[in-house]
């Protein structure tokens, strides 16, 4: 019988090795040795605690976090809080906004949400924005972000579930990167 594969050794550590394979383990010194070799670093990791911050350090942490939260819009707005003024700038922001709406509209609908925000916000935006807008919308609609190589190494994780992460909030840097990438992809000229 073949030796345990890596995933089976991991199952063994979890106590979840398939019974048929456990029978092999009974008879195979090599596999038992391999399992023991993995158990050592696992035990070491489990036993290694982390130094606890002092009360003073926690107090400073709380103060800093409070200031950071104060600067944020209320979370009750959910994805709409993206529209807070410091976050978005006109044309680049629109690109991100449409993308955000595209990925979150299904979720809004799931929540029995607020009508058809994509259409509504797009209408409002078209009134305000430049000629680049219709082209941008078209490109964005066709854009499969998981296919955009430019995301590699940017720190923006593009994969199934990206909408979850986007709506869960991006840092300023990520936001700026995303704007730039979408603009580049859409062929929008930088000012």
């Amino acid at each position: 019988m073949t030796h345990l594969r890596p995933d089976e050794l991991v199952d063994l550590l979890d106590g979840a090795l398939a019974p048929g394979r456990a029978a092999h383990l009974e008879t195979c010194d090599l596999c038992r040795e391999e399992a023991a070799r993995l158990a050592m670093p696992l035990d070491a990791a489990r036993g290694a605690g982390v130094p606890e911050p002092s009360e003073g350090e926690w107090a400073r942490f709380s103060t800093r976090l409070s200031s950071a939260i104060e600067a944020e819009p209320s979370p009750g707005w959910g994805w709409l809080s993206w529209l807070a003024p410091p976050v978005l700038v006109p044309i680049a922001g629109l690109a991100v906004l449409v993308f955000a709406l595209a990925v979150s509209v299904d979720r809004v609908a799931e929540r029995g949400g607020w009508g058809a925000p994509v259409a509504v916000v797009t209408d409002a935006a078209v009134d305000d924005e430049s000629d680049a807008w219709p082209a941008l919308v078209e490109v964005l609609a066709a854009l499969d972000l998981s296919e955009v190589d430019a995301f590699a190494g940017t720190g923006i994780d593009v994969r199934p579930g990206v909408s979850e992460r986007l709506v869960a909030g991006l840092s300023r840097e990520e936001f700026a990167t995303l704007q730039r990438l979408i603009e580049d992809e859409a062929g929008v000229a930088h000012p």
């Binding site: 809080s81 994780d157 709506v167």
Partner: protein
């Protein structure tokens, strides 16, 4: 009785047709103490505008989030910074938390993504493990705190040298006790890849810690 509270549209483009008020129920019943509320109730209270409910969430979870971040970067200042970032993102995304997982699990997801993003954005050097000095496992004295602390520090240092995905996998599996399936979701891997990463993480960790009798 229900009271309607109106919030101002926070941005400059007020889209036509999107309701700009949300109905928040208030009742005559006494407001329960925050410490008595479970996480889901704290989330609801925060979304209803009770900012102090979020403080309670932070108070409850900051320690574990900090430990996760610390283990990722092995450095207290960066760990505090990443912990802050985690809670800021949690604040931003709180309306998306719908209780399908425990709040702690959701926070760990955010934390590990914040850590991975930081590593990617900073383009921290990830030297091949083979080029590193193996960490000396040091003397072992089961009775000495100092020796135990030193040993823990060596293990943490070794973990922090693992490639980011292996590190994230190991931390979520070992310290957060996250099932492989869930780690796969968090990291955008298949379950097979998660198990492989975990296997390699343990192998690398063993090598970094040095062969021990």
């Amino acid at each position: 009785m229900a009271a309607e509270r109106t919030s101002n549209w926070p941005g400059t483009w007020a889209p036509v047709g999107v309701p700009v008020s949300r109905t928040v129920k208030s009742s005559d019943a006494p407001i329960p103490r925050l410490a008595d509320l479970d996480d889901a109730a704290l989330v609801a209270a925060t979304l209803d505008g009770r900012r102090e409910a979020f403080d309670e969430i932070v108070e409850r979870h900051r320690r574990v989030v900090y430990q996760l971040c610390y283990r990722f970067v092995n450095q207290p200042e960066d760990a505090a910074d990443l912990t802050q970032e985690t809670f800021v993102r949690a604040w931003r995304g709180l309306a998306k938390f719908r209780g399908q997982a425990a709040l702690s699990t959701w926070l760990h997801r955010i934390a590990v993504n914040v850590c991975l993003n930081r590593v990617a954005l900073k383009r921290l050097p990830t030297e091949p493990i083979d080029d590193r000095q193996f960490v000396d496992p040091g003397a072992r004295d089961p009775h000495g705190d100092l020796v135990r602390d030193e040993r823990a520090a060596r293990v943490r240092a070794a973990i922090a040298q693992l490639p980011p995905k292996q590190r994230a996998t190991l931390l979520l599996r070992v310290y957060q006790d996250m099932p492989h399936e869930e780690i796969a979701q968090v990291l955008g891997n298949t379950v097979g890849a998660v198990k492989a990463n975990f296997f390699h993480a343990l192998g690398n960790l063993r090598r970094l810690l040095g062969e021990q009798p």
